[in-house]
C-alpha cells in the first residue's frame, strides 16, 4: 500500500537560505525521518514490573526526567514518570518490546503514524530551537530529551549526537506543515541543506 509521509508535501530538497559563499560542511542538514516505529510505553500504576529488567539492544528505560538513550537506530525517551517513548527503525520492534514486558504491565500504544519528525544536524542546530522554544538549552547534551513548544506547537526534542549536534524534533503529524515551516524558516539565516 502506498504511503504518504507526514512531510512529503513540505520537504523540498536542496540548499536553502543564506548558503552563498558558505562551505557546505558548515550548513545545517535537515531531513525528514521516515519509516520509523514509535511506541509509547506507560507503566500501569498497579504493575510491580521492575523497569531495570527491561532492555532493548542493551538500552534500559531511562528513569530520570530529561534523559534519553539509544543509538542511531533506536531511541528511548523519558516522557513522564513511568512513561517512555520508543522510536526505532526496526520494523519488528514491537515483538522485541513484547519479549521484555507484557501489556498487563504497560499500556503499549502504537504512535508510529502520529508524528512528523525532522532531524536537524549541524553546529547551529540548537540555535534553531532557540528561535522558537523557551526551553533552556544551556545544559542540553547528548542523550537529553525534552518536551516543549516551538512556535506554539508541542514538540519533543532528542539530542542523538553532539558531534555534530544532531537533534530529532517531533511534532504531532497534523501540524507537519506548520512545524516544518517554523523549523526551516528559522534555519534560513544559517543556511541549510534539505536531504
Amino acid at each position: 500500500m502506498s504511503k504518504i509521509t507526514p512531510l512529503s508535501n513540505s520537504h523540498e530538497l536542496g540548499l536553502h537560505g543564506n548558503c552563498k559563499d558558505k562551505d557546505e560542511a558548515n550548513l545545517l542538514v535537515i531531513r525528514e525521518v521516515t519509516n520509523i516505529k514509535i511506541y509509547q510505553l506507560s507503566k500501569f500504576k498497579k504493575s510491580n514490573f521492575d523497569i531495570n529488567n527491561f532492555s532493548l539492544d542493551g538500552y534500559k528505560l531511562p528513569n530520570e526526567s530529561g534523559l534519553s538513550t539509544g543509538n542511531e537506530n533506536l531511541r528511548i525517551l523519558w516522557q513522564a514518570p513511568n512513561i517512555w517513548m520508543i522510536i526505532s527503525y526496526n520494523e519488528n520492534i514491537i515483538q522485541e518490546i513484547g519479549k521484555q514486558c507484557s501489556d498487563s504491565d504497560f499500556a503499549i500504544t502504537d504512535l508510529s503514524h502520529s508524528r512528523a519528525i525532522l532531524e536537524v544536524k549541524g553546529k547551529d542546530a540548537l540555535n534553531v530551537i532557540k528561535k522558537g522554544s523557551p526551553l533552556n538549552l544551556n545544559n542540553f547534551r547528548k542523550n537529553n530529551c525534552a518536551n516543549s513548544v516551538y512556535h506554539g506547537i508541542t514538540v519533543s526534542i532528542d539530542m542523538i549526537n553532539d558531534d555534530p549536534i544532531t537533534l530529532n524534533i517531533m511534532a504531532l503529524r497534523s501540524f507537519a506543515g506548520s512545524f516544518h515551516h517554523a523549523i526551516t524558516d528559522a534555519s534560513l539565516e544559517f543556511g541549510f541543506n534539505a536531504i
Binding site: 502506498s2 504518504i4 540555535n127 544551556n138 503529524r173 534560513l188
Partner: protein, 998 residues
C-alpha cells in the same frame, strides 16, 4: 560646503567611507559610523521637524534614545517607517528621510500659526475645546486633530523584512556597557557565570567613549576595547550591541530587541531586520547609566540648543561640532568638560553657571585654559526662529527670581546641563519602589523586587571610581551566589576629573512681564505655564497632572522631562518631591516595531494549522477550507461557479440519495487502557459503559461538574480493558486534559492510561443508503449485512496489507460507517473508497453538508453544546443514567435545572418555507413589541433541508417541550429581518431513526 561642521580628525567614524543620504529632498553626505543625527549636524542641519502642538521648529537635543525632537519618516528601498529617531539610525547607503508634523515643508509650516495662537492651546486644550457641539466631533474636530497631530505615516504595504525571536537563559544579564556594565560583566564572567552583556548603541563603552579618564594604564576607550575583546573570547559570554533591553517582566524575564540588518550595506537575504530576545536571567545587573536633564528657560526649544554632554559626544565620537560659537549653560560641573573639549578643538565658548562658584577640579582646569566663565548667571531668553541666534543673559538676583541686568550674546548653539537623571526604568518595571535622593535631586532604586541590582550612575554612583568598584564587586558577588567559584577580579586603579555638587536651581525666571514659553517636555510641547495651569485648576496627583498636560506621555516617555516636571509640581504644590511621587515606568523603554514583536508568525503562518493526511487530495479537488479550531477542514468541494449553499445542498443530497465521503480525521481520538478503564468511563460519561460488549461502540455524553454538557462522541470497546474514545474536533484537547485531571487529581487510585491517537489514524465517514454496498466492495470477504455488522458495531479488518478499523456509526442520520487506517495510508484509503464508489455516485462532502445533514436530523453539535446547555435542553436526558453517579450529576438536581419550563431544543421552519433564518436570531412572540422584547430563545443552527427543500433551523427555546406547533417570529436586528416561523420537532427527518439501523 559639505560637512563644514566636521573636524578634520578624531572621532570613531571612518572618513574614508563617504555615504550620502537625502533629507527633505536635499542630498547630504556623512561617513560610515555616523548616525543620521551626527551626519545632519556635520552638515550644519539642526532643524529636523516641527513640534507636536505649536509646530515650532525643533532640532536635535541629544545623541541617544533620550532625544525628544528628532523624529522623521524614514525611507529605504521600498520600505518606509514613521517616527524614527535620527539619533538611533546608523548611516548606510540609500537612506532618505523626511520631516514629520509639518505641511507643506519644515521651513514653511502652516501649522506654525499655532505658535502665535498659543494662548488658545493651553494644557487640557483638547479636553476643553473639542467638546461641543457633539456632532462636530466626527466631521470636524477629530479629522482636524488627526491631521494636525500628524506623526509619521505607516506604510500600507506588507513589511518585506524578516523578524525573528530568540530565547536565551543566562546567569547574569548586564544591561548597558558603560564602566559599571563592562566591569560587572568581566568580573561575573571570570567567575564562571553565563553572562549576556547588552548595549543599545552601535558602540560599547557608554560614558567612557567621551570622558577623559584612565583605567589601569589605559585610556577609557582603550580599556573598553580590550575588555570587550576579552569578553567576546569567553565561551560563557554573549556580547550584543545595537540591542535594547526594553522590558522587565515576571520571574526575571527580560525582553530585548537587536537591530541586525539596517546598518549593513549588503546584508544576506535571510538576515532578520530585528531580533526579539526573551532572556531569562538568574540575576540582572542594570547599568543603564543616566540621562542629562535640560535646564528650563524662555524659548529653550530652539534648534541649536542641546544637552552639553551630547554635544561633547558628537565631538568625540563623530568628530562633529554641533556649534562653532556655543554658549554653555549649566547648574553643575559636568558641562565644563564640554567647554574644555571644545576649547581643545579650537572652539571658544562662554560658560554660564547658575552657581555662585565651584571649586571642582574640572572648573579650575577650565579657568586655567582661559575659558570665559560667568557665575551666578542665567539665560532669560533666546532668539532665532529656525536656529538659535542669540541668548539674553543676565546675573541672577539674590532670590534667583529675576535678573540684575540683561545683555544679549550672539551664539550659534547653547549646550545645557541641568544635572543627571539615573535611568531607572528597568528597575521600576521589575517592581522596585524608587526612593528620592534630595542631594542629587534624583530617584534611585531602593528595594529590589526581583533578582535585580542597579549599579553605576543608574544607581547614583556618578564617579568612575564608584562605578568601577560597584561593577567589579557586584559582578563578583552576584555571580558567586550562582557559580560559587570564588574567583574575584581585582579593581583597576582609575583616574578621572574632579566634580562637585550641582545647584538645586534649574528653572530660570522669565524677564520682567514676559510670557515666553519655557518648555519642559519638548516632544509633547508641555511648558511651565501648562503645569502651573494644571496645578491651579486643582490637579494634585502627579498621574493626573501628567495626563492633563500630557507631560512625559510622548514616545520618548519623558526621558528628559519627567524629573523637571516633578520638581516643578513639587515647587508649585510646596511639597517635597518624594511626596509628589513619580509616574509609573512601563515597557517598552523605547519604541519597538510591531514586526519585531510578531516575528515569524505572519501571513498564513500567523498561527499553526493542522491538516489531515488527505489534505492534498482535498486541495486538488477544489475544496474550500474552513477553520475548525486549528484544523483546516474542507467546507465544500466547489464545482464550477457553485455557491457555498448550492454545493452544500448538492453534497448533502447526494448523501441522502447515494453515498458520500467526509474526512473526519480531525475528530479527537483517545486510546484508553487499563483494568479500571470501564469504571473510569462509567464515571466520565452520563450513560452506562461498564457492560459495553467488546466490539461495540456506544454514543456517550460528558458533563462538566456544573452539569453543563461538555462533549459527546462514541467510544468503542476494543478489548476488555481497552477502549477507543472519540471526541469532537473542538474539544479534543480539552477532553484529554479533563481525563488526565480526573485520573491524576481526583481518582488517582484508578489504573487507567490515556493517550491521544488522533493523528495515528486517518478517518473517513462513508454515509448514505449505498454505503453498505460500498463497504462490501471494500471488504468482499466480510459479512456487511445488517445482522453481520449491526448499528454501533465495530470490526478490525485487513485492508490492502494493513488494518482498518471500521465502525458502524452515523452523524448524518443515514446508514453510515467510519473507517480508520493509519495515517500514512490515509490518502490511499480515500482514493480506494472513491474509486470503488464511483458508479454508486460517491461524492466527497464538506463540513457545510455535514451540518445540513445533522441539523435536519436534529443532532446536536458545538452550536448547541455551547457550555450553557444541560442534557435536558438538548433532549439528551435519556442519556442520563439513573443508576450510577457520574461527573456533574449532582448539579442536575439544582432547582434551575429541573424547572418545568426549561429551555429545550426544537426545530424551526419559516412559514413561507423560503426565508432562511440567520443563525443567532432571537425567537419572540410579538415582533412589533417595544424593546426590550422578551426573548424566548435563539436559533443555534440553520440549514437548507435537502429532504424537504426548504429552510430548517434548530433553536433552544424556553419551555420548548410545549412549544411545538406555535407560531412565533425569528428576529435578527443585525440583518434587519423579521421572519414568521413555526416551531416543529427537532427531528425533521427520520424522527424514528430508522435509517441508521437499516
Amino acid at each position: 560646503m559639505s560637512q563644514e561642521f566636521r573636524i578634520s580628525s578624531g572621532g570613531l567614524i571612518d572618513r574614508s567611507k563617504e555615504i550620502s543620504f537625502i533629507f527633505n529632498g536635499k542630498k547630504y553626505t556623512g561617513y560610515k559610523g555616523d548616525t543620521l543625527a551626527s551626519a545632519l549636524l556635520a552638515n550644519g542641519v539642526h532643524l529636523i521637524g516641527r513640534s507636536f502642538k505649536y509646530h515650532r521648529p525643533r532640532g536635535i537635543i541629544a545623541a541617544g534614545v533620550e532625544d525628544a525632537n528628532g523624529k522623521v519618516q524614514l525611507y529605504k528601498d521600498s520600505i518606509t517607517e514613521p517616527n524614527v529617531n535620527v539619533t538611533e539610525v546608523e548611516l548606510v547607503e540609500g537612506l532618505r528621510i523626511e520631516s514629520q508634523n509639518c505641511w507643506p515643508s519644515v521651513n514653511f509650516d502652516v501649522g506654525g500659526i499655532n505658535n502665535f495662537l498659543n494662548r488658545f492651546f493651553p494644557a487640557g486644550f483638547y479636553y476643553k475645546t473639542f467638546m461641543w457641539p457633539k456632532s462636530f466631533w466626527y466631521n470636524v474636530y477629530e479629522p482636524f486633530i488627526r491631521k494636525a497631530a500628524g506623526m509619521g505615516k505607516a506604510s500600507l504595504d506588507p513589511d518585506p523584512d524578516r523578524y525573528e525571536h530568540q530565547y536565551e537563559h543566562c546567569d547574569v544579564l548586564v544591561v548597558g556597557s558603560g564602566p559599571s556594565g563592562i566591569s560587572s560583566a568581566l568580573s561575573a564572567a571570570k567567575n564562571g557565570a553565563r553572562v549576556i552583556l547588552a548595549e543599545d548603541k552601535a558602540r560599547f563603552g557608554g560614558s567612557l567613549l567621551t570622558d577623559n579618564v584612565t583605567i589601569g594604564n589605559k585610556k577609557g576607550d582603550e580599556w573598553v576595547e580590550d575588555s570587550i575583546s576579552e569578553l567576546k573570547s569567553m565561551p560563557n559570554v554573549i556580547v550584543k550591541k545595537r540591542s535594547q533591553v526594553f522590558g522587565y517582566y515576571d520571574h526575571n524575564m527580560l525582553v530585548m530587541f537587536e537591530r541586525c540588518k539596517d546598518h549593513l550595506k549588503n546584508p544576506e537575504p535571510y538576515t532578520p531586520r530585528q531580533r526579539l530576545w526573551y532572556i531569562r536571567a538568574k540575576h540582572v545587573l542594570i547599568s543603564t547609566g543616566s540621562i542629562e536633564r535640560p535646564l528650563i528657560f524662555a524659548n529653550n526649544d530652539r534648534p541649536g540648543i542641546m544637552l552639553a554632554t551630547s554635544a561633547r559626544e558628537y565631538l568625540k565620537v563623530y568628530g562633529v561640532l554641533p556649534g562653532k560659537n556655543p554658549i554653555i549653560f549649566t547648574n553643575n560641573d559636568t558641562a565644563y568638560e564640554t567647554a574644555i573639549e571644545f576649547k581643545a578643538n579650537g572652539i571658544e565658548s562662554i560658560v554660564l553657571d547658575t552657581r555662585k562658584s565651584s571649586n571642582a577640579g574640572v572648573v579650575q582646569e577650565a579657568k586655567a585654559l582661559g575659558i570665559d566663565i560667568k557665575f551666578n548667571h542665567g539665560i532669560a531668553n533666546t532668539s532665532g526662529y529656525k536656529k538659535v541666534k542669540s541668548a539674553t543673559v543676565g546675573e541672577l538676583n539674590e532670590s534667583k527670581n529675576g535678573y540684575k541686568n540683561l545683555t544679549t550674546i550672539p551664539c550659534d548653539s547653547i549646550f545645557v546641563s541641568g544635572n543627571w537623571t539615573p535611568t531607572v526604568h528597568l528597575a521600576s518595571q521589575s517592581g522596585n519602589k524608587l526612593k528620592y535622593e534630595s542631594e542629587t535631586d534624583t530617584f534611585l532604586p531602593n528595594q529590589s523586587r526581583q533578582q535585580e541590582t542597579v549599579i553605576g550612575s543608574a544607581n547614583g554612583s556618578f564617579t568612575l571610581k564608584e562605578s568601577l568598584t560597584d561593577g567589579f564587586s557586584k559582578g563578583y558577588q552576584i555571580s558567586d551566589e550562582i557559580t560559587k567559584n570564588g574567583i574575584e577580579t581585582s579593581i583597576p586603579i582609575s583616574d578621572e576629573k574632579d566634580f562637585g555638587s550641582h545647584d538645586k536651581f534649574w528653572c530660570m525666571p522669565l524677564p520682567n512681564k514676559k510670557h515666553y514659553k519655557r518648555f519642559v517636555d519638548f516632544q509633547n510641547d508641555v511648558a511651565v505655564s501648562d503645569i502651573q495651569l494644571a496645578v491651579r485648576e486643582g490637579f494634585r496627583s502627579i498621574e493626573h497632572v501628567k495626563r492633563y498636560t500630557t507631560l512625559g506621555m510622548a514616545t520618548d516617555q519623558g526621558k528628559t522631562s519627567n524629573l523637571n516636571g516633578l520638581q516643578l509640581v513639587s515647587d508649585l504644590e510646596k511639597k517635597i518631591v518624594p511626596e509628589v511621587g513619580h509616574t509609573t515606568f512601563r515597557p517598552p523603554y523605547t519604541s519597538v516595531t510591531i514586526g519585531t514583536i510578531i516575528g515569524r508568525e505572519v501571513g498564513k503562518n500567523y498561527r499553526a494549522t493542522r491538516k489531515s493526511p488527505m489534505h492534498e487530495w482535498h486541495e486538488k479537488h477544489n475544496a474550500v477550507f474552513v477553520d475548525a479550531g486549528l484544523w483546516l477542514r474542507p467546507r465544500f468541494y466547489k464545482r464550477g461557479n457553485e455557491t457555498l449553499q448550492e454545493a452544500a445542498k448538492r453534497e448533502a443530497l447526494n448523501v441522502r440519495q447515494n453515498v458520500g465521503i467526509c474526512d473526519v480525521t480531525s475528530l479527537g481520538k483517545i486510546d484508553i487502557k487499563g483494568t479500571d478503564s470501564a469504571e473510569f468511563l462509567n464515571r466520565v460519561y452520563t450513560n452506562a459503559f461498564l457492560k459495553l460488549p467488546v466490539g461495540k461502540a456506544r454514543y456517550g455524553v460528558m458533563l462538566r461538574e456544573d452539569g453543563m454538557v461538555f462533549d459527546d462522541g462514541t467510544t468503542t470497546r476494543l478489548a476488555e480493558n481497552h477502549f477507543h474514545m472519540t471526541t469532537t474536533t473542538a474539544q479534543a484537547a480539552n477532553v484529554l486534559s479533563h481525563l488526565e485531571y480526573y485520573l491524576q487529581v481526583v481518582w488517582p487510585e484508578l489504573d487507567v492510561n490515556v493517550v491521544s491517537t488522533t493523528e495515528q489514524w486517518a478517518g473517513a465517514a462513508i454515509a448514505g443508503p449505498k454505503s453498505r454496498e460500498l463497504l462490501q466492495r471494500l471488504f468482499p470477504e466480510e459479512d456487511m449485512s445488517n445482522e453481520g455488522f449491526p448499528f454501533m458495531g465495530f470490526k478490525e479488518l485487513e485492508f490492502k496489507n494493513t488494518i482498518a478499523r471500521v465502525f458502524r456509526i452515523s452523524f448524518s442520520g443515514e446508514l453510515a460507517y467510519e473507517m480508520n487506517v493509519m495515517s500514512d495510508y490515509g490518502e490511499e484509503m480515500w482514493n480506494e473508497i472513491i474509486s470503488q464508489g464511483k458508479d454508486l455516485g460517491i461524492q466527497p462532502y464538506g463540513t457545510e453538508a455535514l451540518s445540513t445533514l445533522r441539523i435536519e436530523m436534529g443532532h446536536v453539535a458545538g452550536s448547541e453544546i455551547d457550555g450553557r446547555t444541560i442534557a435536558y435542553d438538548l433532549s439528551l436526558e435519556g442519556m442520563l443514567s439513573q443508576k450510577k453517579d457520574f461527573i456533574g450529576k449532582r448539579s442536575l438536581s439544582r432547582k434551575a435545572f429541573t424547572e418545568d419550563n426549561r429551555e429545550k431544543i426544537v426545530g424551526v421552519v419559516p412559514i413561507d418555507k423560503k426565508t432562511s433564518i440567520p443563525e443567532g436570531s432571537y425567537l419572540v412572540e410579538n415582533a412589533k413589541a417595544g424593546f426590550p422584547n422578551p426573548k424566548l430563545g435563539h436559533v443555534s443552527a440553520s440549514c437548507w433541508s435537502v429532504e424537504y427543500d426548504n429552510p430548517f433551523s434548530l433553536a433552544i427555546i424556553k419551555d420548548g417541550k410545549n412549544k411545538k406547533g406555535e407560531k412565533l417570529f425569528a428576529v435578527s436586528p443585525l440583518k434587519n429581518k423579521i421572519i414568521p416561523v413555526e416551531i416543529v420537532s427537532q427531528h425533521y427527518v427520520d424522527p424514528e431513526g430508522k435509517r441508521v439501523r437499516s
